[in-house]
């Protein structure tokens, strides 16, 4: 059976445990679940909030393409990607990746791969709102994120 990833681009928060439960409910073939959660950090007290802009017509489709690439490469039996947009404060969730497989290696590697590709190919942009400034600035993309793609 082809894998049907659960992809969501949403303003609202998500709950890690309920997303894992949704993926594993009633299943007896899953031997490993790996989750990655990306949170908003306050950069040592400097950051008041992140504002995430996205390209609605493209974001879900692009996440789905990345998910399909991962599913071709590893024998995944479940896959969830949730990415939030809008204003997100320090301590709050930004992104969730859940991968399920029969064995751990596929689940670990696929989660890592999905995050690398998501960072460089999914149409989201972060703007920083600082605690001591009126106007925010856009987060610059990092060479390290581009280099990470070369691992695959």
């Amino acid at each position: 059976m082809a894998l049907k990833p659960h992809i969501s681009v949403q303003a609202s928060d998500f709950d890690l445990q309920s997303e894992v439960d949704k993926l594993t409910q009633g299943r007896k073939d899953i031997g490993a679940v790996v989750t990655f959660t990306g949170l908003c950090r306050d950069e040592g007290g400097k950051l008041k909030a992140l504002e995430l802009e996205h390209y609605p017509a493209m974001a879900e489709a692009q996440l789905n393409q990345i998910a399909q690439k991962a599913a071709k490469r590893w024998p995944l039996t479940g896959l969830t990607i949730i990415h939030r947009f809008g204003k997100i404060e320090p301590g709050a969730n930004i992104v969730l990746v859940v991968t399920a497989s029969s064995h751990r290696r596929a689940a670990f590697e696929a989660a890592d791969y999905l995050m690398d590709y998501l960072k460089s190919e999914a149409p989201f942009w972060k703007k920083e709102h600082l605690a001591d400034a009126e106007d925010g600035d856009w987060v610059q993309s990092k060479q390290a994120d581009i280099d990470d793609l070369k691992r695959w």
Binding site: A57, I94, M115, P123, W125
Partner: protein, 84 residues
């Protein structure tokens, strides 16, 4: 008519998020499009100043600058992505 959409600092520098334009016939590639856009005013010149950084999506699919635009309904221009 082709819909052009802009995001993040590209959108801010241009000053609006979308428009419908009649693309000149000699625009074939992403590079051609950016060259033409830069002639449309200082705001475009500023937004697309470092054009090698700008990403282009045609009908919601990433393309390289040298690729042909083809029959595009919607073309998006935006900075490198910083999600995740």
């Amino acid at each position: 008519m082709t819909k052009l959409v802009y995001f993040a600092w590209v959108r801010e520098r241009i000053g609006f998020s979308e428009e419908s334009v009649e693309l000149p016939d000699d625009i074939e590639t992403g590079d051609d499009l950016m060259r033409w856009l830069k002639t449309r005013g200082e705001n475009f010149e500023h937004a697309l100043e470092y054009s090698d950084q700008i990403r282009i999506a045609v009908n919601q699919e990433h393309i390289h600058h040298s690729e042909k635009i083809g029959a595009a309904n919607e073309i998006a221009l935006f900075p490198p992505m910083t999600g995740g």
